[in-house]
């Protein structure tokens, strides 16, 4: 399973970024290979409009199955993610990435 976290930094101890479209980083974790790959989202931060759909496009390119974030994606981004079959889990905005992963595994996060 490939899982993506919206984060403020690139370490397991980094804080989650509650935002989706304008998240600082997307951290892609491959549960099989245990590989953790950062995707810098700085280019989207510079966009005046449409940050959500642009970030959703990155999810398509990274082929992630699960998204773990804070507030959850907005309307336009949700539509794209739904089509991709990506399942979003929310409510991890105030956690570290590590805590968010634990919470997800323990079934403590809500589905968006």
């Amino acid at each position: 399973m490939k899982i993506v976290f919206t984060t403020e930094g690139t370490e397991w101890e980094s804080k989650m970024d509650p935002r989706f479209g304008r998240a600082k980083y997307f951290m892609v974790f491959d549960e099989e290979t245990k590989e953790l790959i950062p995707l810098d989202n700085g280019d989207v931060e510079g966009e005046a409009h449409g940050a959500g759909p642009k970030a959703a496009r990155k999810m398509a390119e990274a082929k992630v199955e699960v998204l773990i974030t804070g507030n959850g994606p907005g309307g336009n981004a949700s539509k794209v993610l739904e089509k991709l079959g990506t399942v979003s889990y929310i409510g991890a905005g105030d956690m570290t990435m590590k805590e968010a992963y634990e919470a997800y595994k323990n079934g403590e996060l809500d589905k968006a």
């Binding site: 509650p18 989706f20 479209g21 304008r22 966009e47 940050a51 507030n71 968006a112």
Partner: protein, 291 residues
């Protein structure tokens, strides 16, 4: 640090007056951010002194180098926004019409046209007259607000709050349901919906709440001027119940509101008003929910 965002959907419901009142009640505990940058006016009530100001760029604008231009008219032909004007046989860009798409620069045979970042306004870090950090922005005429500018104002406010150990960031949100308000809501811990009992007040409340729901943010509602239309006020109450939105308070129609405004004061600075009491209670409720 908890982020509280105040929005209304409809204009004129008293959103900014109430946000500024919360700011006064929060005292030293808060960093205030005005994300209603199209018509920013919280500074009128909080009278801040700017400490730091910076230009803000969003989008691009085509610029023609007159010396390199051969007046061939190709840019004029392709522009879909009629932004290329020919004045006395010289091609120029109408800055208000140009959308910065870059088509003209692409077809220009002499590379006389370049797209340059567009300066749309300024953002400021300031201190309110209550000596609270205040982040706000001012857009130029004809410039449009964007999720990017709102995100920037909020980021600076959050950084300031973290640096100074302030427990709350209070955001005067953007109007409407578009990109700027999405950006205002993103990352919030609690949303205050300010509405009034009118047909459009309820209609716009429902629309903007769709967004809040999407983000799954806990929300509370203040019904301003609640006594001017009791039927719609009870319709609003029903809606709040259905959607599990906390009813924070009803504010009566009271000329104190107008008096405060004409004195450039917040409502809670006018003593002995019912409104002051209701707003103070609402603020206490919000703190209770967040902690």
């Amino acid at each position: 640090m908890k982020e509280i965002v105040v929005i209304s959907g409809k204009g004129g419901t008293g959103k900014t007056s109430i946000t500024a009142s919360f700011a006064v009640l929060a005292g030293d505990d808060v960093v205030v951010a005005d994300c209603d940058v199209d018509a920013a006016d919280m500074h009128i009530l909080l009278q801040p002194e700017n400490i730091k100001s910076e230009d803000f760029y969003s989008g691009e604008l085509a610029v023609i180098d007159e010396d390199a231009c051969i007046q061939c008219g190709k840019c004029f032909d392709v522009c879909r926004f009629d932004a290329v004007e020919v004045i006395n046989d010289v091609h120029t860009i109408n800055e208000l019409s140009c959308e910065g798409c870059g088509y003209c620069a692409r077809v220009c045979p002499t590379e006389a046209i370049t797209n340059e970042p567009l300066n749309v306004g300024k953002w400021h870090v300031a201190n309110t007259r209550f000596n609270q950090p205040f982040v706000h922005a001012k857009l130029g005429i004809g410039a449009d607000n964007s999720g990017k500018l709102v995100a920037q104002v909020k980021n600076i406010a959050k950084e300031t709050a973290n640096k100074n150990n302030k427990p709350y960031v209070l955001v005067d949100g953007s109007p409407g349901v578009g990109c700027p308000v999405v950006s205002s809501l993103s990352g919030a811990h609690f949303v205050v919906l300010v509405t009034e009992p009118s047909v459009s007040g309820l209609h716009d409340l429902k629309r903007v709440y769709e967004l809040v729901k999407k983000f799954r943010i806990k929300a509370g509602c203040i019904i301003n001027k609640a006594d001017i239309n009791k039927d719609i006020a009870s319709e609003i109450l029903e809606f709040l119940k259905e959607e599990d939105i906390v009813h924070l308070s009803n504010l009566p129609y009271d000329e104190t509101f107008t008096k405060a405004m004409t004195d450039c004061k917040t409502i809670v600075e006018i003593d002995d008003s019912k409104i002051k009491e209701a707003i103070s209670e609402s603020w206490e409720k919000i703190k209770e929910i967040l902690n």
